[in-house]
Subunit: 350 residues, 2 copies
């Protein structure tokens, strides 16, 4: 049995890139995929990093995703654009979208770039964080790649976990980065609980009779619950309309379950907003104020049993620093799957 192994970030990037290259993906695209997917693992979102590589490769091999997509602007104003992702990997489509949004926001102050005919793009924080280097705030929303939630009060799976990420730069403190599903638990957490033989807390899922479902091996009979009940349902619905319907991308019953079907075009929709801080105030002054907000929030008296106050982005910064320094742990089961994939593709094992 393959055991857990620890890999350096750059080793992981190169392995991912080599897998895509072995499928015929142009080298510059493959390198970008390696960078972005490894960044998910570095940030501790291990359900969205190299873990997804076998699935992406399977989709490419099945003809369900294009390795050299023609990503093009099909509709444009000075502060908006709609991209056709050419059925390419979401990572390539949405980094292009973020670049374009940043470019437009430099003159317009804000820009909103949507995409259709894209695919799963990994963790939402990747794209929300891109504008930060230019003293901008970033926001990213996606239609999730499989429906696990009904409309509030219903039982048909018409909605996904439709996540949002918002990133705001700090000066010395970690950047504020919120990356959240509109459901109480992302579906990946349910799968992880099943893998570990754990039960789920009440509040994650209910069954079709409305009773709490806590056995994750029965997840296929269950319904994810939205945060705040009808509020999270409303957010999921509206994020789906903005990231999906408005872009001419799939939403509702048209969403293809990318786990169950590797061949059909998913027509995944997302959008990204870049907002230039300098359109409102001096960016340095703003970032120092964000440092002040960190200090202010952390100064609060604590509830019993709580050790410290955290801000969104704290864990991302801490885990990223640790992983860049000490490498990333790849669990044994995943390690074995990646070895199998490497052998199949005829590339060097991780």
């Amino acid at each position: 049995m393959t055991s857990t192994r620890n890999v350096a970030a750059d080793q992981l990037r190169k392995f991912i890139a080599s897998a895509f290259e072995a499928c015929g993906m142009p080298a510059h695209h493959a390198a970008r995929m390696g960078e972005l997917m490894a960044e998910a693992d570095i940030g501790g979102q291990d359900g969205h990093g190299v873990f997804r590589l076998p699935m992406y490769i399977k989709r490419i091999q099945a003809g369900g995703m294009d390795i050299d997509p023609d990503i093009k602007v099909i509709s444009e104003r000075t502060a908006t654009a709609l991209l056709d992702g050419g059925n390419g990997p979401g990572h390539l489509v949405m980094s292009r979208a973020a670049e374009l949004a940043v470019e437009k926001a430099k003159t317009c102050g804000v820009a909103w770039v949507g995409a259709r005919y894209s695919n799963h793009a990994g963790p939402a924080f990747l794209y929300a964080r891109m504008p930060l280097a230019e003293n901008m705030i970033g926001l990213y929303v996606a239609v999730g790649s499989a429906n696990h939630m009904p409309p509030w009060g219903g039982t048909d799976l018409l909605l996904s976990t439709n996540p949002i990420a918002i990133a705001i730069p700090s000066h010395d403190e970690p950047d504020i980065v919120l990356d959240m599903a509109t459901t109480v638990a992302a579906y990946g957490k349910v799968k992880t609980a099943a893998d570990r033989g754990e039960t789920m807390p009440e509040g994650w899922m209910i069954d079709k009779q409305g009773q709490p479902l806590t056995d994750p091996t029965r997840a296929s009979e269950g319904l994810l619950l939205p945060i705040g009940g009808p509020k999270g349902y409303g957010l999921s619905l509206i994020f789906g309309l903005l990231a999906g319907t408005l872009n001419g991308a799939a939403f509702g019953k048209d969403v293809v379950d990318f786990n169950a079907d590797a061949k059909s075009k998913t027509n995944t929709g997302h959008f990204v907003i870049a907002l230039d801080i300098e359109a409102f105030m001096d960016a340095e002054a703003f970032k120092k104020q964000i440092d002040g907000i960190w200090a202010e929030m952390k100064s609060s008296a604590l509830l019993p049993g709580v050790e410290s106050i955290r801000l969104p982005g704290y864990r991302l910064a801490a885990v990223s620093a640790e992983h860049r320094e000490n490498g990333i742990e790849i669990p044994a089961a995943l390690s074995a799957r990646l070895d199998g994939l490497a052998d199949e593709l005829g590339i060097k094992r991780l």
Copy 2:
């Protein structure tokens, strides 16, 4: 004792306008206040309509809010603007912000307009809904006017219910309008429960020991809980940074409790986004697709005990239609307060 009374929408508008005029507000501003505040009552958000009139008048009389504000653009790009609200009523500042956002979005595709030195603006849906008439999508976020929530894990009241509203136009179905606080319950609901002598459900508030607080008369010792735990905390924090800090408006400990202090400038911050549907697709086709989404969601099988699926905006449309037809019920206690106010101002009673 004054009894409950039923008033026509136009009667309510005129009463509100006459109260502001009696304080010296220019007639066109007073009329706009009447329109927008009555619209809150028409939409069923009765905690944000004429209910607030005595408080607004008190603030004007105390010198805490300007009746003829100099609302001006202090920073601008083609798709953004920052308004100084001149310490005017939030309704006047944010309708100006929405108009400007719509104007800019007509050419740019999207626009983001923020404001500082504003005040409480009533219900969030008012401003999110303004762009709909121009085939646009609207989004509005505000820093709440009093802090009732700590950072996650803390007990200091550094955050407000910071609400968001998003409005998306339909063709024949009601427009989709989500208007929600980032807390499980808005503070107004706590006050209503106290007025009615009811207990609150667990999950609305905890005390400073982290125990459920269900007695609304003890609300001043309590902490509102965010939706989805740390997720709602993250949303409230980030909405506060975007609507407050980025605009140079109050956030965190700088927020003035507008219930407790009628004199200090609140420096309330908000922002509104207008997004032109035509920058992405044909607006008529989009609105028909939204009708289709209504039908699709409503077609879902139901959980036991549920009568039908609703979409956000359903209740707003139904209640508004009923109130426009049959008038608005003013509860006896409020009615008495408004009579007292009318007598004090020397205007005709409602």
